[in-house]
Protein backbone atom coordinates (compact mmCIF):
# COMPACT_ATOMS: atom_id res chain seq x y z
CA UNK A 1 0.00 0.00 0.00
CA UNK A 2 1.42 3.38 -1.03
CA UNK A 3 2.53 5.76 1.69
CA UNK A 4 0.15 8.57 2.58
CA UNK A 5 0.89 12.03 3.94
CA UNK A 6 -1.80 13.44 6.27
CA UNK A 7 -1.29 16.80 7.94
CA UNK A 8 -3.41 19.25 9.91
CA UNK A 9 -1.93 22.72 10.18
CA UNK A 10 -2.72 26.38 10.75
CA UNK A 11 -0.41 27.59 8.00
CA UNK A 12 -1.24 27.83 4.29
CA UNK A 13 0.19 25.11 2.02
CA UNK A 14 1.88 25.17 -1.37
CA UNK A 15 0.13 22.83 -3.83
CA UNK A 16 3.05 22.81 -6.29
CA UNK A 17 5.57 21.95 -3.57
CA UNK A 18 3.33 19.19 -2.20
CA UNK A 19 2.83 17.75 -5.70
CA UNK A 20 6.60 17.80 -6.30
CA UNK A 21 7.17 16.04 -2.98
CA UNK A 22 4.69 13.34 -3.97
CA UNK A 23 6.12 12.69 -7.44
CA UNK A 24 9.83 13.47 -6.97
CA UNK A 25 12.07 10.63 -8.19
CA UNK A 26 9.08 8.53 -9.33
CA UNK A 27 8.58 7.22 -12.87
CA UNK A 28 5.67 4.89 -12.08
CA UNK A 29 3.20 7.75 -11.54
CA UNK A 30 1.32 8.74 -14.68
CA UNK A 31 -1.37 10.95 -13.14
CA UNK A 32 -1.75 13.29 -10.20
CA UNK A 33 -5.09 14.89 -9.34
CA UNK A 34 -4.87 17.96 -7.09
CA UNK A 35 -8.00 19.33 -5.45
CA UNK A 36 -7.69 22.58 -3.50
CA UNK A 37 -10.62 23.92 -1.49
CA UNK A 38 -10.47 27.71 -1.20
CA UNK A 39 -12.24 30.12 1.14
CA UNK A 40 -14.88 32.09 -0.82
CA UNK A 41 -15.39 35.77 -0.17
CA UNK A 42 -19.14 35.41 0.26
CA UNK A 43 -21.60 33.03 1.87
CA UNK A 44 -25.21 32.97 0.61
CA UNK A 45 -24.55 36.18 -1.30
CA UNK A 46 -23.21 38.15 1.69
CA UNK A 47 -19.53 39.10 1.97
CA UNK A 48 -17.51 37.40 4.72
CA UNK A 49 -14.38 38.52 6.56
CA UNK A 50 -13.02 35.06 7.32
CA UNK A 51 -13.77 31.46 8.21
CA UNK A 52 -12.58 29.91 11.45
CA UNK A 53 -12.20 26.14 11.42
CA UNK A 54 -12.48 24.17 14.63
CA UNK A 55 -11.44 20.51 14.67
CA UNK A 56 -11.23 17.51 16.98
CA UNK A 57 -7.49 16.86 17.38
CA UNK A 58 -6.67 13.19 17.19
CA UNK A 59 -9.99 12.15 15.68
CA UNK A 60 -9.56 14.36 12.60
CA UNK A 61 -6.27 12.66 11.71
CA UNK A 62 -7.70 9.20 12.49
CA UNK A 63 -10.85 9.77 10.42
CA UNK A 64 -8.87 11.06 7.42
CA UNK A 65 -6.50 8.08 7.72
CA UNK A 66 -9.44 5.65 7.70
CA UNK A 67 -10.77 7.13 4.47
CA UNK A 68 -7.34 7.27 2.86
CA UNK A 69 -6.96 3.55 3.64
CA UNK A 70 -10.35 2.87 2.09
CA UNK A 71 -9.41 4.85 -1.02
CA UNK A 72 -6.17 2.88 -1.26
CA UNK A 73 -8.13 -0.39 -1.10
CA UNK A 74 -10.64 0.72 -3.75
CA UNK A 75 -8.33 2.28 -6.32
CA UNK A 76 -4.79 1.60 -7.55
CA UNK A 77 -3.11 4.58 -5.92
CA UNK A 78 0.62 5.28 -5.92
CA UNK A 79 0.47 8.12 -3.40
CA UNK A 80 -1.97 10.25 -1.39
CA UNK A 81 -1.55 13.59 0.37
CA UNK A 82 -4.28 15.22 2.48
CA UNK A 83 -3.66 18.56 4.18
CA UNK A 84 -6.46 20.28 6.10
CA UNK A 85 -6.06 23.66 7.75
CA UNK A 86 -7.69 24.89 10.95
CA UNK A 87 -7.91 28.29 12.64
CA UNK A 88 -8.67 31.55 10.86
CA UNK A 89 -8.71 31.47 7.05
CA UNK A 90 -9.42 34.54 4.93
CA UNK A 91 -11.09 34.71 1.50
CA UNK A 92 -8.77 33.51 -1.24
CA UNK A 93 -6.71 31.33 1.09
CA UNK A 94 -6.61 27.55 0.69
CA UNK A 95 -8.45 25.36 3.22
CA UNK A 96 -7.85 21.79 2.11
CA UNK A 97 -5.60 19.89 -0.31
CA UNK A 98 -6.15 16.38 -1.65
CA UNK A 99 -3.52 14.89 -3.96
CA UNK A 100 -3.97 11.43 -5.45
CA UNK A 101 -1.40 9.73 -7.69
CA UNK A 102 -1.89 6.68 -9.90
CA UNK A 103 -0.50 5.25 -13.12
CA UNK A 104 -3.66 6.15 -15.06
CA UNK A 105 -5.99 9.07 -14.50
CA UNK A 106 -9.25 7.27 -13.66
CA UNK A 107 -8.08 6.01 -10.28
CA UNK A 108 -6.64 9.37 -9.24
CA UNK A 109 -9.79 11.28 -10.28
CA UNK A 110 -12.18 8.89 -8.51
CA UNK A 111 -10.11 8.65 -5.33
CA UNK A 112 -9.76 12.44 -5.03
CA UNK A 113 -13.53 12.91 -5.38
CA UNK A 114 -14.21 10.11 -2.87
CA UNK A 115 -11.82 11.63 -0.33
CA UNK A 116 -13.32 15.11 -0.65
CA UNK A 117 -16.89 13.80 -0.30
CA UNK A 118 -15.90 12.07 2.94
CA UNK A 119 -13.85 14.97 4.29
CA UNK A 120 -16.99 17.12 3.95
CA UNK A 121 -19.27 14.79 5.89
CA UNK A 122 -17.13 12.59 8.18
CA UNK A 123 -13.97 14.46 9.16
CA UNK A 124 -14.56 16.35 12.45
CA UNK A 125 -14.14 19.97 11.32
CA UNK A 126 -16.62 22.81 11.81
CA UNK A 127 -16.63 26.12 9.94
CA UNK A 128 -17.63 29.37 11.57
CA UNK A 129 -18.29 32.43 9.39
CA UNK A 130 -17.11 35.85 10.52
CA UNK A 131 -19.25 38.41 8.67
CA UNK A 132 -20.39 41.92 9.51
CA UNK A 133 -18.91 41.65 13.00
CA UNK A 134 -20.90 38.54 13.95
CA UNK A 135 -19.97 34.88 13.90
CA UNK A 136 -22.27 32.04 12.84
CA UNK A 137 -21.71 28.29 12.42
CA UNK A 138 -22.01 26.95 8.88
CA UNK A 139 -24.85 24.42 8.59
CA UNK A 140 -24.18 21.04 7.04
CA UNK A 141 -25.56 20.65 3.51
CA UNK A 142 -27.81 17.78 2.47
CA UNK A 143 -26.06 17.85 -0.91
CA UNK A 144 -22.78 16.95 0.83
CA UNK A 145 -24.44 13.96 2.54
CA UNK A 146 -25.87 12.83 -0.79
CA UNK A 147 -22.46 13.16 -2.43
CA UNK A 148 -20.90 10.92 0.23
CA UNK A 149 -23.74 8.38 0.16
CA UNK A 150 -23.30 7.60 -3.53
CA UNK A 151 -20.02 5.85 -2.67
CA UNK A 152 -21.67 3.40 -0.26
CA UNK A 153 -23.39 0.98 -2.65
CA UNK A 154 -22.37 -0.91 -4.57
CA UNK A 155 -18.77 -1.00 -3.35
CA UNK A 156 -16.04 -0.67 -5.91
CA UNK A 157 -15.14 1.77 -8.57
CA UNK A 158 -17.40 4.67 -9.27
CA UNK A 159 -17.37 3.93 -13.00
CA UNK A 160 -18.82 0.50 -12.18
CA UNK A 161 -21.50 2.07 -9.99
CA UNK A 162 -22.88 4.43 -12.60
Amino acid sequence: MAAATIRLQREPFDTAAETAALTSGRTDIGAVVAFTGICRGSEDGAPIAALTLEHYPGMAEAEIARHVEEAQSRWALLGVTVIHRYGRIEPGEPIVLVLTASSHRQDAFAAAEFLMDFLKTRAPFWKQVDAAGATTWVEAKQSDDSAAERWQNPPGRRDAAE
Partner: protein, 83 residues
Protein backbone atom coordinates in the same frame (compact mmCIF):
# COMPACT_ATOMS: atom_id res chain seq x y z
CA UNK B 1 -15.89 9.43 31.84
CA UNK B 2 -14.27 12.19 29.80
CA UNK B 3 -16.71 14.18 27.68
CA UNK B 4 -15.71 16.55 24.88
CA UNK B 5 -17.84 19.17 23.12
CA UNK B 6 -17.18 20.92 19.82
CA UNK B 7 -18.51 23.88 17.81
CA UNK B 8 -21.96 25.12 18.91
CA UNK B 9 -22.42 22.20 21.29
CA UNK B 10 -19.28 23.44 23.10
CA UNK B 11 -20.56 27.03 23.07
CA UNK B 12 -23.95 26.08 24.46
CA UNK B 13 -22.57 23.80 27.19
CA UNK B 14 -20.04 26.52 28.00
CA UNK B 15 -16.96 24.31 28.25
CA UNK B 16 -14.81 22.23 25.89
CA UNK B 17 -14.57 19.16 28.12
CA UNK B 18 -15.35 17.71 31.53
CA UNK B 19 -15.15 14.53 33.58
CA UNK B 20 -18.45 13.08 34.79
CA UNK B 21 -19.56 10.18 36.96
CA UNK B 22 -22.36 8.38 35.19
CA UNK B 23 -25.16 6.40 36.84
CA UNK B 24 -25.38 2.75 35.77
CA UNK B 25 -28.69 3.48 34.05
CA UNK B 26 -26.85 5.41 31.31
CA UNK B 27 -26.02 2.59 28.90
CA UNK B 28 -25.98 4.10 25.41
CA UNK B 29 -24.93 7.29 23.65
CA UNK B 30 -28.61 8.24 23.41
CA UNK B 31 -29.07 7.65 27.15
CA UNK B 32 -26.08 9.88 27.81
CA UNK B 33 -27.53 12.74 25.74
CA UNK B 34 -30.86 12.46 27.61
CA UNK B 35 -29.00 12.44 30.95
CA UNK B 36 -26.87 15.46 29.97
CA UNK B 37 -29.94 17.41 28.83
CA UNK B 38 -31.22 17.31 32.42
CA UNK B 39 -28.07 18.76 33.96
CA UNK B 40 -29.08 22.41 33.54
CA UNK B 41 -30.35 25.05 31.16
CA UNK B 42 -27.11 25.20 29.15
CA UNK B 43 -27.17 21.41 28.63
CA UNK B 44 -30.88 21.45 27.85
CA UNK B 45 -30.17 24.04 25.14
CA UNK B 46 -27.21 22.11 23.71
CA UNK B 47 -29.10 18.80 23.57
CA UNK B 48 -32.60 20.14 22.81
CA UNK B 49 -32.58 18.34 19.45
CA UNK B 50 -30.52 15.17 20.00
CA UNK B 51 -31.36 13.85 16.52
CA UNK B 52 -28.96 16.34 14.94
CA UNK B 53 -26.11 15.85 17.43
CA UNK B 54 -23.31 13.51 16.31
CA UNK B 55 -21.17 11.49 18.69
CA UNK B 56 -17.81 9.75 18.74
CA UNK B 57 -16.43 7.20 21.19
CA UNK B 58 -12.66 7.09 21.45
CA UNK B 59 -12.36 9.13 18.25
CA UNK B 60 -14.61 7.03 16.01
CA UNK B 61 -18.16 7.91 14.89
CA UNK B 62 -20.94 6.07 16.72
CA UNK B 63 -24.75 5.99 16.64
CA UNK B 64 -27.18 6.86 19.47
CA UNK B 65 -27.82 3.15 20.16
CA UNK B 66 -24.11 2.39 20.66
CA UNK B 67 -23.24 1.14 24.15
CA UNK B 68 -20.82 3.37 26.08
CA UNK B 69 -19.36 0.59 28.27
CA UNK B 70 -15.56 0.70 28.15
CA UNK B 71 -15.38 4.14 26.51
CA UNK B 72 -12.54 6.42 27.60
CA UNK B 73 -13.64 9.55 25.73
CA UNK B 74 -17.03 10.51 24.31
CA UNK B 75 -17.45 13.57 22.10
CA UNK B 76 -20.60 15.43 21.01
CA UNK B 77 -20.73 17.82 18.08
CA UNK B 78 -22.92 19.18 15.26
CA UNK B 79 -22.89 17.71 11.74
CA UNK B 80 -19.45 18.30 10.25
CA UNK B 81 -18.70 21.10 7.81
CA UNK B 82 -15.05 20.66 6.88
CA UNK B 83 -13.39 20.22 3.51
Amino acid sequence: MKLLYFAWVRERVGKPQEDVELPASVATVGDLMAWLAKRGDEYAHAFENPKIIRAAIDRAHVRPETAIAGAREIAFFPPMTGG
